[in-house]
């Protein structure tokens, strides 16, 4: 018996040993490793390099995931009580997390005192980081002001004007935008038309007309929910006419065949961008960074014009400090530094992420900034005018699920699997099943 217990103990030690090798003991006490979880390009690499120079004792460990994967892993980290020091929360999930402020550090309190910097930011962006009990759980990062990125050379080849003013005049409204697209399609060369009729690569005016949906929706004053000061908000997806308008406009655009049906952020999209298969992208400011990264050879071949319908937004996040973060003070120091007006200006110039620090909007350094990649378009001024016209929109709890269902419905319309009316009916049904009835 003695022998056996010794053996079992031996086995236990044999297991414990390699496991302790796996998890390295934390580094010397002076140095701090700040764990930061984000998706996409919320935190740009240059900022991490710069911060290391300012604070050599702090190492920032960045974890980037996909949008959905990131938020899901944030939820599981709450449940496991092992959270990062800083976590990004994207707008489409901010409605969900605002129902659970108990998992975040309230930034109103000392030593953070968020009220002291609140006035630096756009009010509606700030509001996206406020929980339902009034707690401030996150600071706004960039704002995804939306405009149209287009390619003058392709416009010219298809019978459209090229200068950004003339282009903006083409489409004061969404129906004018669609009509412009149809004109473009009409002027496709024979080779381009043949390519598509054989179901190969389809050339088109816009990458994917489905992207119009969010642009139109965000031009309204509310989306799927209304704030009734409850934890979960009130569902209005069916009674809010803006949702149906956005859906119909997009379905019309899809029916008009002005897009290529290539989905954003896919390999085909990257290739299409490089090869000039589509001439426009509805581009939030942060997308400029993606275009530069994915199609560096198209430098100078792009320009930026105003979005139809006036102003637009897509995306944007808050940086939060989860309640069980280990290094809250250091987290706040980094966050408030990264999201300060000065640093946001630098990031904007280098990457194109448009600051949500509205105090900068009249700053000549921003206003007069021109981006050579986009044919020296005054992107500072163009995107600034886009975000200033927007009104605050209440972000609802299960907004992401609703977005996905409508996205699928539009995708079915685009692929001609379903007509707009039945796709809409099916979507409403699915939303009802997923989140409950509209009131």
């Amino acid at each position: 018996m003695k022998k056996l217990s010794a053996r079992i103990a031996g086995i236990a030690i044999a297991f414990a040993l390699p496991l302790s090798l796996v998890a390295p003991a934390s580094a010397a006490p002076a140095a701090v490793t700040l764990t930061v979880w984000t998706y996409g390009n919320v935190i740009e690499p240059q900022a991490i390099i710069d911060y290391k120079k300012l604070h050599p004792e702090i190492t920032i460990q960045l974890k980037k995931s996909g949008l959905d994967a990131h938020h899901q892993s944030l939820i599981t980290s709450f449940l496991a009580n092992k959270t990062p020091d800083i976590a990004a929360v994207e707008v489409s999930y901010s409605g969900y997390f605002r129902s659970y402020p108990q998992y975040f550090t309230d930034l109103r309190k000392a030593p953070y005192n968020s009220a002291s910097i609140e006035n630096n930011y756009l009010d509606w962006r700030w509001a996206q980081g406020v929980g339902y009990e009034g707690t401030v759980f996150g600071l706004p990062t960039d704002v995804g002001g939306m405009q149209v990125a287009y390619r003058p050379a392709l416009f010219k080849a298809h019978g459209l004007p090229t200068s950004r003013d003339a282009v903006a005049k083409l489409w004061p409204t969404w129906s004018a935008f669609i009509a412009t697209g149809q004109k473009y399609q009409k002027n496709l060369s024979k080779a381009e038309k043949d390519s598509c009729s054989k179901k190969k690569v389809c050339y088109g005016f816009i990458d994917n007309a489905g992207t119009i949906y969010n642009a139109v929706l965000n031009q309204g004053t509310k989306k799927y929910y209304e704030n009734d000061n409850t934890k979960d908000g009130k569902l209005v997806y069916e009674s809010n006419p803006q949702v149906k308008t956005a859906f119909q406009t997009t379905a019309t655009a899809l029916g008009a065949g002005i897009g290529t049906n290539i989905n954003s952020f896919t390999n085909d999209w990257n290739v299409g961008m490089n090869k000039g298969i589509f001439a426009t992208i509805l581009a939030p400011a942060w997308m400029m960074d993606y275009i530069k990264q994915q199609a560096p050879k198209t430098k100078g071949k792009w320009d930026i014009a105003d979005l139809p319908g006036g102003g637009g937004n897509l995306g944007g996040s808050q940086l939060t400090i989860p309640k069980s973060a280990v290094h809250k003070k250091e987290a706040w120091d980094f966050m408030s530094w990264y999201l300060s007006p000065a640093e946001q200006l630098k990031i904007f110039k280098k990457y194109g992420l448009f600051p949500s620090t509205s105090v900068l909007y009249d700053n000549p350094a921003l206003k007069n900034f021109k981006d050579p990649f986009f044919n020296n378009a005054p992107v500072g001024q163009i995107y600034g005018s886009s975000v200033k016209t927007l009104k605050p929109i209440y972000e609802g709890k299960k907004q992401r699920a609703i977005d996905n269902i409508i996205g699928q419905a539009l995708s079915r319309v685009g692929l001609k699997k379903q007509n707009a009316a039945s796709a809409w009916t099916q979507a409403l049904n699915e939303i009802k099943n997923a989140v409950g009835p509209s009131k």
């Binding site: 959905d68 899901q72 054989k198 085909d268 699920a401 699928q408 419905a409």
Partner: protein
């Protein structure tokens, strides 16, 4: 999840290594050795039993409990809702769509693969074949690759505009590009291709082993009777591997109900594509879990279990009937 590893080994399940290494007779007919102190049995099985109760059985029981609640993981309290989740799942079109998708992918990946595996085993069993070990080993290579890696590679190969599959079709004169990501049947075929690629060699080896176990005398007797190659195959080989066919079918079914990484990668999201055409049962469970509907997700898990039990039941009956007519001698 305590049987994590067994999933990847599942084809070994219900296997019997009696014909292992040295094809000797069974060493003991399941008889115990009474001269050994049986009391040690409790100690020897204790680690397994204890661990299994905690990490195997307790979660199963707990999931039945959760299924009676509306359970959002971030909430501190959960609402008891009786059998609402079960009523909902029965009426849920998305659930039944997931059932259909799962079985469609299963059928497309199982039957062609079975025919190919048997044909391949038939090629491999020729005693005059050179480099036997080399062929066998090479055929097993796809099986050691992770499902995720397979899904990533094939996902790229099947992409619409610039994927290799569509470009290859173009060079073969089929000028239209198939949109594997948005069309249901091609998409299911693409997923079935991934599964077939990964398991074909493995199953061929299993069939090969079964074929090698068929006594040579049967073939000799058959050829004396003047049976040709095809007739030999039909009347000697096939009956000899009949049980193995059933076995591969069952294992394929249990594996098929777990298909997850391939549709997730191809669809690019847990909802499984614009018409939910890649939403398999496991993917559906995860989608619901990630939407914060843990009670409902647990209910889906229970439904999957029912399906497994039903299929196993059918198979049990089927195998018994096959078994009764087994001896060909």
């Amino acid at each position: 999840m305590s049987n994590t590893a067994s999933k990847s080994l599942s084809p070994w399940r219900a296997s019997d290594p009696r014909k292992a290494k040295k094809p000797k007779q069974k060493a003991s007919d399941g008889a115990v050795v009474n001269s050994l102190n049986g009391g040690w049995g409790y100690l020897f099985t204790a680690p397994f039993v204890v661990m299994f109760l905690i990490f195997g059985l307790a979660p199963v029981i707990y999931s039945v409990y959760i299924a009676f609640f509306s359970w959002d993981p971030l909430d501190f309290t959960h609402t008891y809702i009786g059998i609402d989740n079960f009523v909902r799942v029965i009426q849920d079109e998305q659930f039944w769509l997931a059932v259909r998708n799962t079985f469609s992918i299963w059928a497309l990946s199982t039957f062609p693969q079975m025919v190919m595996a048997i044909a391949l085993a038939n090629v491999l069993r020729n005693p005059m074949l050179k480099f036997k070990t080399f062929w066998r080993t090479m055929l097993l290579v796809p099986n050691i690759t992770s499902v995720l890696a397979v899904a990533i590679v094939f996902g790229q190969l099947f992409s619409r505009d610039f994927g290799l599959v569509n470009l290859a079709r173009e060079y073969l004169g089929m000028s239209n590009h198939i949109n594997f990501v948005s069309e249901t049947v091609p998409g299911h075929i693409a997923i079935a291709t991934m599964i077939t690629w990964r398991w074909l060699g493995y199953n061929a080896l299993i069939f090969l082993a079964a074929m090698l176990a068929v006594p040579n005398e049967l073939y000799e007797a058959a050829s004396i009777d003047g049976a040709s190659g095809w007739r030999q195959f039909r009347y000697v080989t096939l009956p000899g591997i009949r049980n193995t066919i059933t076995f591969v079918l069952v294992v394929g079914t249990i594996g098929g109900l777990q298909v997850f990484a391939e549709p997730l990668t191809l669809a690019g999201g847990e909802s499984g594509g614009d018409s939910r055409q890649f939403s398999t049962l496991t993917l559906f469970l995860f989608e619901q879990a990630h939407m914060g509907n843990w009670g409902y997700a647990a209910t889906i898990g229970i439904m999957i279990t029912f399906i497994v039990l039903i299929i196993s039941g059918i198979n049990f009956v089927f195998t018994r009937r096959l078994g009764s007519g087994e001896n060909v001698q």
